[in-house]
Each structure stands twice: as C-alpha cells, then as structure tokens.
C-alpha cells in the first residue's frame, strides 16, 4: 500500500498493543515483539501484522523483527532500561530514522535523547494535564476563607 510504513513495536503491554491495533488499522506494516506469548492477547482482530516472541534486549529478537528495515520503532516495554536497550539498537546499530520510547522515570529522559530517541513520560504528561486542569480553579481565596 502506498504511504504505508514498516513499524516495529517492542513490548506488547497495554500501550504497545493499543498502538499496534491502531496503526495496523491505518494500513501500516507492523511487527510486535514481546517475550511473553500471553501478551499478544491484547492484539485485536484489526491487527494484521506479525508477532515475534523474544526478549527485546537480545539483538537476535530485533533482527528477527527486521528492525534494520523499520521506518519507525516504538520502545514501550514496562522497563525503562529495556526501552533504552531497544533505542540503542534501533539508533546505533539499525539506523532507524524515528524512534520513540516510553520512559517512566523523568530523570532518565536525557539518556534516551542522547541516543537519538523522542520520549513520552506518563508521569510528566499526567502532571501537565492535571496542572492544566487545576489552573482555572487556582483563584484565591479558597474554602478556608469562606
């Protein structure tokens, strides 16, 4: 299909499977990697890509997923360091043009950027949302003054 991209997703948890289902529905070529076969249950009937059962921290699993051909890689396992390893392989070894990682620990984001990945940090994102939401209510005096 013209305009279709080859996308590798490392980690098939809630975020990984959600991304995989949505992007597959859009017509892109998908490969999802997870070491736990049960994790692939999260893939819906819309998903028409491939599953690779393997440890994303082992190069052999990434090779099996043909990461060297990928246009985009998502590193979205539950472990920051595993995601860092995927980012390193994708950027340093397989020269993938666009790589995004989920990073739980905000203080580690610098490392991911250093290796050439964009990051999304659930903690920071949620805090930003919460602060945006609460902004309009931050008018004094509060209840105690009533």
């Amino acid at each position: 299909m013209p305009g279709s991209l080859y996308i590798v997703i490392a980690g098939c948890g809630r975020l990984g499977s959600h991304l995989a289902n949505r992007l597959s529905r859009q017509g892109h070529g998908l490969v999802v990697i997870d070491q736990d076969e049960a994790a692939f249950k999260g893939l819906s009937s819309e998903f028409s890509g491939f599953r690779v059962e393997g440890d994303v921290c082992e190069l052999r699993a990434l090779r099996q997923a043909r990461m060297d051909k990928a246009d985009i890689v998502f590193a979205v396992t539950r472990k920051d360091n595993a995601n860092l390893m995927v980012v390193h392989a994708a950027r340093t070894l397989f020269k993938v043009p666009r790589v995004m990682a989920r990073v739980y620990h905000p203080s580690r984001e610098g490392l991911f950027r250093l290796l050439g990945a964009d990051t999304v940090c659930p903690t920071t994102e949620a805090a930003e949302k919460a602060l945006d939401w609460v902004g309009p209510f931050m008018v004094f005096p509060g209840r105690s003054a009533l």
């Binding site: 921290c57 920051d80 360091n81 595993a82 860092l84 390193h88 392989a89 340093t92 203080s107 490392l111």
Partner: protein, 220 residues
C-alpha cells in the same frame, strides 16, 4: 582510588573484596535488600540499596567524586543504563561495563563505552586450549582484533633450531618475547628458536591458527 561497583551476587562480592584488598575505597550498589545487609556485615565498603540506574541514587552513592564505575549486573540493559549515566551525565573518568550477551559488545563500544565480555574471553580460552595444549595463555586485546598468546615450542616443532627469519611464519604476526630458561629475550631475525622456548606471540584472529600450526607442527 575511589571505585563504585553496581551489581549483584558473587561477581559483586569478589570484585569488591579484590579492590578492597588492593587498598581502594569501594562503594557498592545492589538492588537486593537482603544482599545489602549481608554485604554490610562482610565487607568494609559503603553499601547503597536501590536501582543503580536511578541518577538520584548514584548521586547519593557519591558518584561525583568517583574515579571508576563498574557495572556488573546480570542484565545488559541495566549495565548499559548505568554506564551511559556514569560516562555521559556524571563524566566519571573511567567506566567499565560487563556484557553478558557477547553480541552486545560491539554496539556498546560504538557508544564509546569500555566493555568486557567474560563469556567471550572464556570461550576463546577454551577453544584455544582444546586445540593446542602447549598454549598457556590467550588474551584478546584491541576489542578482540588482536591476540596475545604464550606458547611452548615442543621438541617436534618444525621451527626448532631455525632462525626466526627462516621460519616462514605467516604475515601479520610477531614473536614479541622468547622466554628461555626463565629469562626473557627480545628476538631479532637471526635469533634461533629452540625446543622448550616459550614464545609470547602477537597474532590476529584470522592468522592465529596458521601461526600456531607453523610453530608447533601440523599434527593437530
């Protein structure tokens, strides 16, 4: 020297003991609470419990004043994170990371990290020993692109009695030192080799086998 070791298990314990015995100041980080308590009783080292790839913990563990950081965890991704933090964020002068999967060696090096693979060293030792019993030592150096080997010239060696320049050794190898009756001798082209000599060789992995065969005979 101030050394900070991040790891677990026997590697962490014996590495720490070795550095302490040499008189260095050692701090160690383990993510196992019970192990930390045990090590605190066994070792005269500063012990920190927690995730070694957490920058805040590394700061608590005094990484700013540290000369050497060694990452020896059983997961390569953790060693990668610690080594990158130590080198790039905290600018520790010397950082060393263990790789468990030998396949990761090259990629980690590409990031400018100093790494070592115990598996690869062990595998090459075993391979070479199995091939030729005369070899007593084999050390891969220069990222595994150069071998340093110590080999005994047996009585049946085809080069025993020949001058070094007549031995017809393959190119790209060097007999660096001859140990004859315990004394070191740096050879020249005219130096004669004798059975019983121990040679310290510099070879490349691709000519390693041919060089050894030329020195010890074709019988194996």
């Amino acid at each position: 020297m101030k050394v900070l070791i991040i790891g677990e298990g026997k590697v962490l314990y014996f590495l720490t003991r070795t550095f302490l015995a040499k008189g260095h100041t050692v701090g160690l980080v383990s993510n196992d609470r019970e192990e930390c308590a045990r090590l605190a009783r066994q070792l005269k080292a500063e012990i920190f419990y927690g995730d070694g790839s957490d920058p805040a913990l590394l700061e608590d563990a005094g990484i700013h004043g540290t000369d050497v950081v060694i990452a020896v965890m059983p997961q390569d991704q953790d060693n990668l994170a610690v080594a990158l933090l130590a080198k790039k964020e905290f600018e520790v002068p010397r950082v060393l990371a263990m790789v468990n999967d030998p396949e990761n060696e090259e990629g980690f090096r590409a990031l400018g990290l100093n790494v070592f693979s115990t598996i690869r060293t062990l595998a090459s030792l075993v391979e070479q020993q199995a091939e030729l019993e005369e070899i007593t030592n084999l050390i891969p150096v220069g990222a595994g692109r150069v071998n340093v080997t110590e080999v005994l010239l047996p009585v049946e060696s085809p080069v025993a009695g020949k001058a070094l320049q007549e031995t017809g050794l393959p190119p790209d190898c060097l007999v660096a030192v001859i140990l004859r009756e315990g004394a070191p001798l740096v050879p020249r082209g005219a130096t004669r080799l004798e059975a019983g000599d121990r040679l310290v060789l510099i070879t490349l992995p691709e000519n390693h086998g041919p060089v050894l065969r030329a020195l010890t005979g074709e019988r194996r």
